[in-house]
């Protein structure tokens, strides 16, 4: 029988039970990645049904230009899924793109940035690939990180490179210049001579792969350089370069960020440009760096031992790094795919968008998705050594 004492003992546990119930109700009302997974499960079935029905539809309606793009996008709310947190580079670029994409897409849908960090960006990719194949979920991420390992046969959870449809990169190739502090060396030849004495020049880096693949390339080619990894980004690397913690930097890029953060070291002790990569710096930039002549392109530096495999692996790593590559899930109707390709290209070449990019120290331009489209065939023909270099320069954690 329930006594007063028993009733008192039960009271606290009733509170706990009510708290638990309240929490579950509130949490169940919230949205998140799991909801997308559950929501897309039936949608996946729909997509599968749609895919299986496609041949029949094509037979019934071979004229794809009758596909009503306006109606497809009209009134839709499209999630622009980013695999990194708010405030980061990807997030900022995505938010910059929103109004331009909304204007370029037929039907003028509304887009919202959804941050889904986790798994080094993999969780965001998985979310896009779980969404229905209707082109109404959009993403942007460094595709090379997962695309290439998957094509090389490494298993990545819930990722299939062939399920990804790249839609272009809304950025041009940035100008990256490698430079050295003048109190360390004033030419590449001096660095080579120092190498013969057993001295090695240090470069700051955040992690293997990425922009610092140029330095990794030099290491692979036998140059007397090394990387000090672990810095948190360009600003930290430039700070270390400025205080002499590292001897050189692969990020003496033509941006106002370097003009601001690198101004002190350019003034004293001064810097010497050693190489450029992808796009040559203009005279104005060389003047800013101290009135130097144009240095050679990276692969033209003297004293390097560059095998064919090294050259192929390096070039491919530049093509397939896929930084800030936009994409949708493959399998969307072809007009939808084309609509995205056209929209991203239009945004990328829009002067107003390029002005906004300039505030982010990024160069405007359009990076077509072709390297990723051709990647399966290209990678199949690579030698083991070239594959090794590709993996190394992309900074991939695969064996």
């Amino acid at each position: 029988m329930m006594t007063a004492g028993t009733r008192r003992r039960w009271k606290p546990w009733k509170s706990l039970a009510s708290a638990t119930a309240l929490t579950l109700v509130l949490a169940g009302c919230g949205g998140g990645v799991e909801d997308a997974e559950e929501a897309s499960a039936p949608a996946e079935d729909e997509a599968a049904e749609g895919a299986s029905e496609e041949p029949a539809e094509e037979e019934a309606d071979p004229a794809e230009d009758e596909f009503d793009l306006e109606a497809h996008f009209d009134g839709q709310r499209i999630n622009f899924v980013i695999g990194f947190g708010a405030g980061g580079g990807y997030d900022v670029i995505a938010r910059m793109m929103l109004p331009f994409l909304e204007a370029e897409l037929p039907g003028k849908p509304s887009l919202t940035v959804q941050n889904a960090p986790g798994g080094g960006g993999l969780l965001a990719v998985q979310e896009v690939l779980r969404a229905p194949a209707d082109g109404l979920t959009f993403g942007m991420m460094p595709l090379g990180r997962f695309f290439v390992p998957d094509l090389l046969g490494y298993e990545i959870e819930n990722f299939d490179a062939l399920e990804v449809f790249p839609t272009g990169r809304p950025l041009g190739d940035s100008v990256f210049v490698g430079c050295v502090r003048n109190d360390v060396a004033t030419s590449w030849e001096e660095i080579l001579e120092a190498g013969e004495r057993g001295e090695v020049i240090s470069f700051a880096a955040d992690e293997p792969g990425g922009i610092e693949r140029s330095v990794d390339f030099l290491i692979a080619a036998g140059a007397p350089v090394r990387m000090v990894t672990g810095y948190g980004g360009t600003a930290e690397m430039l700070a270390s370069f400025g205080r002499g913690e590292t001897d050189a930097s692969g990020r003496c890029s033509t941006t106002s960020q370097f003009q601001e953060l690198g101004a002190d070291v350019v003034a004293d002790p001064g810097v010497t440009p050693l190489w450029w990569e992808e796009v040559a710096p203009d005279e104005e930039w060389l003047e800013f760096l101290g009135g130097h002549e144009l240095p050679p392109e990276l692969t033209e530096l003297p004293g390097l031992e560059i095998s064919d495999d090294l050259a192929i692996g390096y070039q491919l790593s530049r093509d397939l790094s896929g930084g800030r590559m936009t994409y949708i899930r493959a399998g969307a109707p072809e007009p939808v795919q084309q609509a995205w390709l056209d929209a991203v290209e239009a945004v990328a070449l829009n002067p107003q968008f390029q002005d906004l990019l300039a505030t982010q120290e990024l160069k405007g331009g359009y990076g077509p998705p072709d390297p990723f489209m051709e990647a399966p065939a290209v990678i199949e023909g690579l030698s083991d050594e070239a594959v090794g270099y590709l993996i190394r320069f992309l900074g991939l954690n695969v064996e």
Partner: protein
Amino acid sequence: MGEALVEAAGLLFAWGPILGFLVVLPVALLSGLIPGGGLPTAVVILGFAWTLDPLVAATMVVFSMAASDITEPVPSILLGIPGSRTAQATILDGYPLAQQGKAGLALGASYTCTLIGGLIGAAALLIALPMARHLLQYFGAAEFFLLALMGIFAVGVVSQGAMVKGLLTSTFGIGIATIGYTPVGNVVRADMGLTYLWEGINLTPIIVGLFALPELIDLVASDTRVSKKAGSTLLKESRSQVYEGMLLAIRKHKLLLLRSSLIGTFVGAMPGLGGSAGHWISYASAQATEKGAKETFGRGDIRGVIAADSANNSSDGGVLIPTVIFGIPGSPGMAILLAILIIGGTSPGPSMVTDKLPFTMALVLTLTIANIVVVPIMLFAAPFVLKLASIRPAVLAPPAIALVTLAAYSSNFRTADLLVAAGFMVLGIFMKAYGWPRPPILIAIVLTPILEQYMNIATNAYGWSMIQRPQFLIILGIMVVAFVYSAKMQRGAGSTQETRSEPVDVA
């Protein structure tokens, strides 16, 4: 400098920034009061960054950050739940004070310290700005590594009388912190085949599980209020206690307040280190140097609250320095501020102290305004806030548990975070029951990634030559002296932080 300050004031006292502050104020206050985490105010502001004036957006972020830092000690003191970023060390003495019916004392001291600490941090920022860039060039990865190590050493200090237990729990915390991507390469550690663990374990569910839930469950299971005093007594004494706490901070312990504020500002100014280490170093420093602190800290010594909270808020000024001058954010909020600055066309760098000095001064003034506006509000509201300590657990626990659980879920919107919180809840209950200190886990989780990052950089960039750097030797010397002094004082230290021991009268 004076002209820039006047121009900055002119920029701030305009409708745009003022309306921005008014909009952000209630949200920021609420954000800090929610135990275990808060609303992503800065993220919401970022969403409007393109439509807002850059100054308005930037000052709103700084204001919201400062305001929520002022309110974060409230759950620490009243419920024993540390903040996700700051107000972690505050629980060590703030919560015992609340249990002794002296929550008003703790809150009064806390608000006063946050106000004065915040003003000192802002003033230090103003003074240091012109030369900050040159000063900070002398500190590199080797020194940042030592400072992070100094924060880890706080483990020994906060685990007085239970050093072995403290070291074991901090080792466990280090192990937890190493899960996920290494800070120096694309290698994933200890992921157990789970993608969820690639980015490591999120801090908020750990705080909720290790601190918030065990404390709330303990209240419910024992059916006792936080404060042993009745609500009517608490309310009656609240105003006098708050006033007494203010006086203690300003008069009796003003040197401690000043020293802790300077520590918080200095550590916060270290690029990449952030303000997380500052309040732990400040707390440990106070425990090592204040008279009788070894016996009284952790049992409701008001000096522990003063040391922690002065450094908490003064670090807000400190973290602005590397953010605006080097473009290196010292906290997640600063990362968003940086994004807003860049979106608005303002590149961080030396120009922030030359051409754009008025803009930078406006950010500093915003910190000052936030402190001046929010602290009186909180002081006025203190008696009502204090009632939390007298609410029956049957009434307090359900919404509090729901809120903290939501905070754990909302950090990443992943159900796995709730499982993490549940797992740590079980651990926290046992640790609390058997007297194992929990704060060392928190210290280790927060500081280990920073420690590992800078240890890697320092050993690769300098090698053994780092010990030839004068700045390295100075910091190392301070650490050695503090450690030896602390170890001497450790002999005969009392019981651990976890027991609800008798109250200490050090007011």
